[in-house]
């Protein structure tokens, strides 16, 4: 745009420096040959080796993937159904608000609520107790995403289907679901991502012999700083970077196909 006051660039660049300075430091320090997390002694890949051999981190990663997958399945199925039910069969404001509530409530409140519930019914905690918990808040996000998609779709096909005597389930499976697919996939991806990084709820609801990656990292950092964590950060960064780029490419291909 023509009118871009120079002054605005100050906060603009400040934002990016602020966002990336700590990350750059982490990545650089991950190649440190020394023990210190603060002073760079020389280049080395040894911390990546140390990381690769760390069973706790490996187990944590596996647990995280299990939880995220489970939560995504629960959240996607229930969230999609909620979205359809809300958009097509009722116009209850209360139901709307209730569906979104897990996403709006502070994670800490949700976490202690679940802790109290599990304690009251004397449930032995494990990975599945986290799956249930993550499924809860992820469901809200899936429902929101799918609903956005639903408001954009044409209802005439569904109406035609119903007029021809198809029940709600048949209409849903044959007509609504295929139309919703992009929204459902987007919602599922969001659910998966949110669960991967979720710490607070997992911290309160996980069993003692299982740890997700964020919990492993948290307890490692509690015992002090180690370049191993820096190496892990660098790898996570690389993975997300690749995922974002791949995602961008895929959307572009999808868009160009759609235009063809």
């Amino acid at each position: 745009m023509r009118s871009r006051p120079r002054l605005l660039y100050v906060p603009f660049w400040l934002t990016y420096v602020f966002l990336y300075l700590p990350i750059v430091v982490l990545v650089v320090m991950s190649f440190n040959s020394g023990e210190s997390a603060y002073t760079f002694d020389g280049f080395s890949l040894k911390w990546y080796g140390v990381l690769a051999e760390d069973e706790r981190i490996r187990d944590g990663l596996v647990n995280t993937l299990i939880v995220a997958t489970g939560a995504t399945v629960v959240a996607t199925v229930l969230g999609t159904m909620m979205a359809v039910g809300l958009a097509r069969y009722t116009r209850s404001k209360v139901m709307d608000a209730l569906t979104l509530m897990p996403a709006v409530l502070p994670d800490l409140v949700l976490a202690i609520g679940l802790l109290v519930l599990y304690g009251t019914i004397q449930l032995t905690l494990g990975l599945y107790s986290v799956v249930l918990a993550h499924g809860l808040f992820a469901m809200a996000f899936v429902a929101a995403v799918v609903r956005t998609r639903l408001t954009g779709t044409d209802t005439s096909l569904e109406e035609a289907s119903r007029d021809l005597g198809a029940g709600p389930v048949v209409t849903f499976v044959k007509i609504t679901l295929p139309q919703l697919m992009p929204g459902i996939v987007a919602g599922a991806l969001l659910a998966f991502t949110l669960s991967l990084d979720e710490f607070v709820i997992a911290f309160f609801t996980i069993g003692n012999n299982d740890q997700t990656l964020p919990i492993v990292i948290y307890s490692m950092i509690r015992f002090g700083v180690t370049p191993k964590i820096n190496a892990l950060a660098a790898i996570l960064l690389l993975v997300s970077f690749t995922a974002v780029i791949a995602g961008q490419r895929l959307t572009k291909i999808g868009e160009s196909r759609a235009q063809d």
Binding site: S36, L115, G119, T124, N208, N209, R222, F223, G224, V225
Partner: protein, 373 residues
């Protein structure tokens, strides 16, 4: 070296049994209802039981037993399987042991007052002394510890005390009193850390005031609180886990520390440990056998094995903590700077922390108030 040592564990720490004890209430009920099925009296354990039919699940602080212990014990005792799980604090151990349902744990390592709390919940199997002849290797003092006189439900594994760990090259004068921590001199401003777990948070203040660390008198606890609140602005932070690192890096120069966690063997040799003149505590980490265990003979055999001079001594050398085993300590090689040389008599100058029952909530409140202020 120092890293792995620091990450070993939270020593006799984590006074707040937290969530652990939180669930203990329920856990207690569920296990007492199931305890009818479990053998309770000594004569129901068979000294000649076939250990190759038994498996052991142990929970212990990370790195607190040498890595090879399970393999060694398996080979030596012909136990079918020995598995180690780790916990990082007493709190997490208590969570495991008191959670509803069967924990699946046979042997647990927890600090003395936690063993006492577990026993009060009816979760521990009495120690069948005839199955552990190596109890005779313990220092006589180690059989008369106040939380469990006579080792009725716990067997001590390591012991130590709490004091001031400091950088001899960076302090202007050697700390001698808890007041050096509580009212840090100008050169130590914001370079002091304190333990945050409630009983250890209160310890320096109580001792400097001349009170017992087991006091339940409101006015004494209140005075300690005032001292701690006045100290707070001068602290670097409260720290239970990384004070050793911070001393090595120079970020802190004087910290309240558990002896085994003070990195006195740091190669530069300028980290020292002292027990202030007002006195301190005696903490003990113990081994206990769970009442719910189905492998009690193997559990006793393991405890007996650990108490043998070779194994207990080997453990002490490997993890650098003092063990209350006379026969073992007599053959331990003491590394330069190591605190392993402290004698039981010196240790026993410390006051043993005991479980305070309902009054322990007063310490919880104190810790909450101090951190919130």
């Amino acid at each position: 070296m120092s890293r792995t040592r620091f990450t070993r564990r939270l020593p006799a720490a984590a006074a707040a049994a937290g969530l652990a004890l939180a669930v203990a209430a329920c856990g207690g009920e569920s296990s007492s209802s199931s305890s009818g099925a479990a053998p309770a009296a000594a004569d129901q354990l068979k000294p000649d039981a076939d250990l190759s039919q038994q498996t052991l699940d142990i929970t212990v602080w990370d790195g607190y037993t040498p890595k090879e212990l399970p393999e060694k014990a398996k080979a030596e005792l012909k136990i079918k399987e020995v598995q180690i799980q780790t916990h990082d604090t007493n709190e997490t151990a208590m969570t495991k042991l008191t959670a509803p349902g069967d924990s699946g744990i046979d042997v647990a390592f927890v600090s003395g007052q936690y063993a006492q709390a577990l026993n009060e919940q009816g979760l521990l199997e009495p120690i069948h002394k005839e199955l552990i002849p190596n109890l005779a290797n313990l220092y006589p003092e180690a059989t008369q510890l106040s939380y469990d006189k006579g080792n009725n439900y716990s067997v001590p594994y390591t012991w130590g005390t709490t004091g001031i760990c400091y950088r001899s090259d960076l302090v202007k004068s050697e700390p001698k009193s808890w007041n050096d921590l509580l009212k840090p001199p100008a050169w130590a401003e914001k370079k002091v850390t304190m333990l945050a777990t409630e009983r250890w948070l209160a310890l320096p203040a109580l001792k400097s005031l001349g009170y017992s660390i087991n006091t339940d008198k409101d006015e004494e606890i209140e005075k300690a609180k005032e001292l701690l609140m006045a100290q707070k602005p001068h602290l670097l932070r409260y720290d239970d886990t990384t004070f050793g690192d911070r001393l090595v890096s120079g970020e802190a120069i004087m910290v309240e520390a558990w002896d085994g966690w003070c990195p006195t063997t740091d190669p530069k040799g300028n980290i020292k440990f002292t027990v202030p003149k007002e006195g301190s505590d005696l903490w003990v980490d113990t081994m206990v056998i769970m009442k719910s265990s189905k492998n009690k003979e193997a559990a006793h055999a393991l405890l007996n094995y650990i108490l043998s001079p070779e194994i207990h001594g080997w453990a002490a050398e490997n993890i650098n903590y003092k063990v209350p085993n006379k026969a073992a300590m007599e053959q331990v090689k003491i590394a330069k700077g190591s605190l392993l040389g402290t004698t039981p008599a010196e240790l026993l100058n410390g006051e043993a922390a005991i479980d305070l029952g309902q009054a322990s909530t007063k310490y919880t409140r104190l810790a909450q108030d101090v951190t919130a202020s």
